[in-house]
């Protein structure tokens, strides 16, 4: 097992010119720092237009696991630093790196870059010296200069020689915190966390809004939502505020006073109104939802139109064109799936009408709603909303003083 010294971080520099760049880098460095807070010795460093994490003895695997999630990073590479400039130590280090690759590669290529001109061997010569050493000491491996499985890069600089041969892809995107704020309507299901994740991908900070209906929903359902928020926050700033909106009263009012087939439409219109009110308070400029077209009867374009009618806020629907299977794939990839499928009631599963309307209209919805004191209900729910901070940091969750 090779002990790596640094992790080199690459980000989409091309897209970033001018003064945005400094802000972008600072946010990315902050997000990485928060992501690896429990590896205290690891330090984020920016120098000469690149960013790297000095491991200082922390395990590469554990640190990389965290970093590779963070939006804004296109790829990363573990690097080995060789402090003395002897040919032998560079050869040995190169070999150990190659041997560490699992599964063992069949072809490779060496690429040496020498900026330290005092080093006696030139780049081209070094390519042969290093490559030859590896060929001699590893079975079943060949050089392929065109399409090598592994590209071993050796950079000989004044501070030392830096070796990398693994390139771990990141998720790309922009660092969370560089693109304004949206409020995410977060249920406990599969879709909304994925929608949140995709919203974050473009650099937006998000806060969650969750509708609770005790006693129909439980402590575990609430915890599940916070867990989900914690999981997706790992891709951004490491934490996320979730607004817990008490929704029982509104649901029962609708249930008792409005026609059953419009129940879901009206309920969702209330959710939008409340979300907008909270967004205003939190200075967010958009709402984000997990809706996709035609998934369930309530997600027709007519339905979307009718629900959208109560707000002027932009509603981001990152999943709108996706199939369920695509959404599930992402949920698996980002680690929310297992939590999403835990079977606790959420506010949308309690009152399920037998035949919900599939083509609701704005006119009808407004008319049915007239019996309700919309303003009071919304205001009351917003006032009683509780804000809870979800976090990927364990010590910020509820902890027991037992250990």
């Amino acid at each position: 097992m090779v002990q790596y010294d640094d992790i080199l971080i690459r980000y989409g520099e091309m897209a970033l010119k001018g003064k945005n760049r400094g802000m972008f880098e600072k946010q990315l460095a902050d997000n990485i720092r928060r992501g690896i807070h429990d590896f205290p010795k690891a330090k984020v460093e920016t120098a000469y237009g690149r960013m790297y994490v000095a491991l200082n003895g922390e395990p590469y695997d554990g640190v990389a696991e965290r970093i590779k999630k963070i939006f804004g990073i296109t790829s990363l590479s573990p690097t080995k630093r060789v402090e003395n400039f002897t040919l032998e130590s560079i050869q040995e280090a190169s070999l150990s790196l190659m041997k560490d690759i699992d599964p063992a590669p069949k072809t490779f290529k060496v690429e040496v870059k020498r900026t330290n001109k005092r080093f006696p061997h030139r780049s081209m010569e070094m390519n042969h010296l290093v490559g030859g050493f590896i060929l001699k000491n590893m079975d079943g491996i060949k050089v392929d200069v065109h399409q090598p499985e592994v590209l071993l890069k050796v950079e000989i600089r004044n501070e030392g020689a830096f070796l990398t041969c693994v390139n771990v892809p990141g998720f790309g995107g922009l660092p969370v915190g560089t693109g304004g704020k949206a409020m995410l309507l977060l249920s406990g299901g599969i879709d909304s966390p994925v929608a949140g994740w995709l919203t974050m991908k473009r650099g937006m900070r998000i806060e969650g809004i969750h509708f609770e209906s005790p006693p129909f929903t439980s402590e575990r359902a609430r915890q599940k939502v916070l867990d989900l928020a914690g999981i997706i926050s790992e891709y951004g700033t490491g934490e996320m505020r979730v607004h817990m909106v008490p929704f029982t009263e509104i649901q029962t009012e609708i249930r008792q006073k409005c026609p059953e087939h419009y129940l879901i439409t009206i309920m969702r219109r209330f959710m939008m109104r409340i979300a907008e009110a909270i967004a205003k308070k939190q200075k967010a400029l958009a709402l984000s939802t997990g809706e996709s077209l035609g998934q369930v009867a309530s997600q027709t374009i007519e339905s979307m139109h009718t629900i959208n009618n109560v707000t002027n806020y932009p509603i981001l629907r990152p999943l709108v064109t996706m199939d369920k299977s695509e959404i599930m794939q992402i949920a698996h990839k980002i680690g929310t799936y297992e939590t999403s499928i835990l079977p606790f009631e959420d506010c949308c599963t309690i009152f399920v009408p037998k035949s919900p309307v599939t083509r609701p209209t704005v006119e009808k919805a407004s008319e049915f709603e007239r019996v309700l004191d919309i303003e009071r209900l919304v205001q009351d729910a917003v006032e009683r909303t509780e804000v809870v901070k979800a976090s990927s940091k364990k010590e910020e969750q509820e902890q027991f003083d037992l250990f």
Partner: protein, 380 residues
């Protein structure tokens, strides 16, 4: 707080906690060690075994200490299945067993080619002796039937089955008596039982300890293999603190059963009477069931919703067995009893212990009468 979830688990008696603390501090030597500390631990272990045997009216050599009923059940069922596979490969169990029996049998069926008969139950949740008689074949090596059902409290005809099986010396009889001990008399020998499982945390003992009674002469292919402890039926360094805690809990519980044999029954009767006036509330437990379990349904109100409404008032109950309660499925046991999906989806289990009081029953009744109509209104 009114804790009515004693079927899921119980709070350890304060005396149990104290005694465990003492064992942890004083008798930490390994019972297998040759020196004094080991000898002391071994003596404590021996006394624990003797007391357990006394409480169950069996011999000390027939007591195996385990890590709980799940392990006891697995050890018994797989132990017989592997040990006697040359005699036959047929096992009989019931449809209302705990997963720690039913799923063990199914695993044997799926992976090890055992043939399985799952006996149905009647509307009271009881197996019929006739069904059992018909199921027995030359190949049958084991019958595993629980004593008291954990969801509805039905008491199975263990004595009848035990008697009947006496004429089949080659068939072993295993009984999961987890919900029976301390509530009704449990005497494996007079009941004709060969193997019997108990779990300490169901009678105010610690979690992670249990008992397997193995009738003398019964061989088992050991499930766990290792250092040879527990007469090789269950090796591994003995959890002495847990064992002593369990034995203490057994003693205290048996004492309560003796001193107040009707206490549980009185509380349960109070519940039944008190709930009679509540519209739309049905009792699922058979009248002659175990005294500490009462299962009821309020059709139209999902179990989980009623549970959380009661929780708001400080009352803790469960929907079905604890370990399956996180799955959003109708109760399997109620379905098997033929009570229908609506009742199986709206079931609550109230489970009592000697620590509960009649006042708590009254509080529960009052609360139900308050909460249920509210919920019904909200849901209509």
């Amino acid at each position: 707080m009114v804790y009515l979830d004693n079927g899921a688990t119980t709070a350890p008696y304060p005396e149990v906690v104290e005694t465990m603390k003492e064992v942890l501090q004083t008798y930490y030597g390994n019972p297998s060690s040759l020196h004094h500390l080991g000898v002391q631990s071994e003596k404590v272990l021996k006394q624990s075994r003797e007391l357990t045997a006394k409480f169950l009216e069996v011999s000390p050599g027939e007591i195996v200490f385990t890590s709980g009923a799940t392990e006891s059940n697995n050890t018994a069922i797989k132990g017989i299945a592997f040990q006697y596979q040359n005699r036959g490969k047929h096992i009989i169990t019931s449809a209302v067993e705990h997963p720690a029996v039913l799923d063990v049998c199914k695993q044997l069926q799926d992976i090890f080619g055992v043939r399985l008969t799952v006996l149905p139950v009647d509307s009271k949740g009881m197996v019929r002796l006739d069904d059992l008689k018909q199921a027995i074949t030359d190949e049958t090596i084991l019958v595993s039937i629980m004593f008291v059902n954990n969801e509805v409290g039905s008491i199975q005809p263990i004595q009848e089955i035990g008697n009947y099986l006496k004429s089949f010396p080659k068939i072993f009889f295993h009984v999961d008596a987890v919900q029976a001990f301390g509530k009704i008399p449990v005497k494996p020998e007079t009941l004709g039982i060969d193997l019997l499982s108990l779990s300490a945390h169901k009678f105010h003992g610690p979690k992670g300890t249990g008992i397997l009674y193995v009738r003398k002469g019964t061989q088992l292919t050991p499930l766990l293999v290792g250092g040879g402890q527990e007469a090789k039926f269950r090796p591994g360094t003995e959890n002495l603190a847990g064992i002593v805690g369990m034995v203490k809990a057994m003693r205290l519980t048996q004492q309560k059963l003796k001193d107040q044999p009707d206490a549980l029954k009185r509380m349960r009767n109070r519940l039944v009477e008190g709930l009679q006036g509540l519209e739309g509330c049905y009792i699922n437990s058979p009248e002659e069931g175990a005294p500490h379990i009462l299962n009821l349904s309020v059709p139209g109100v999902k179990s989980e919703v009623l549970l959380h409404s009661l929780e708001d008032k400080g009352i803790y109950v469960s929907t079905k067995s604890a370990c399956s309660s996180k799955l959003d499925r109708p109760s399997r046991v109620l379905m098997e009893m033929g009570l229908g999906e609506e009742r199986a989806r709206s079931a609550l289990r109230i489970s009592l212990s000697y620590e509960n009081t009649i006042d708590e029953m009254d509080y529960f009744i009052t609360t139900m009468k308050q909460v249920v109509p509210q919920l019904k209104q909200m849901l209509n």
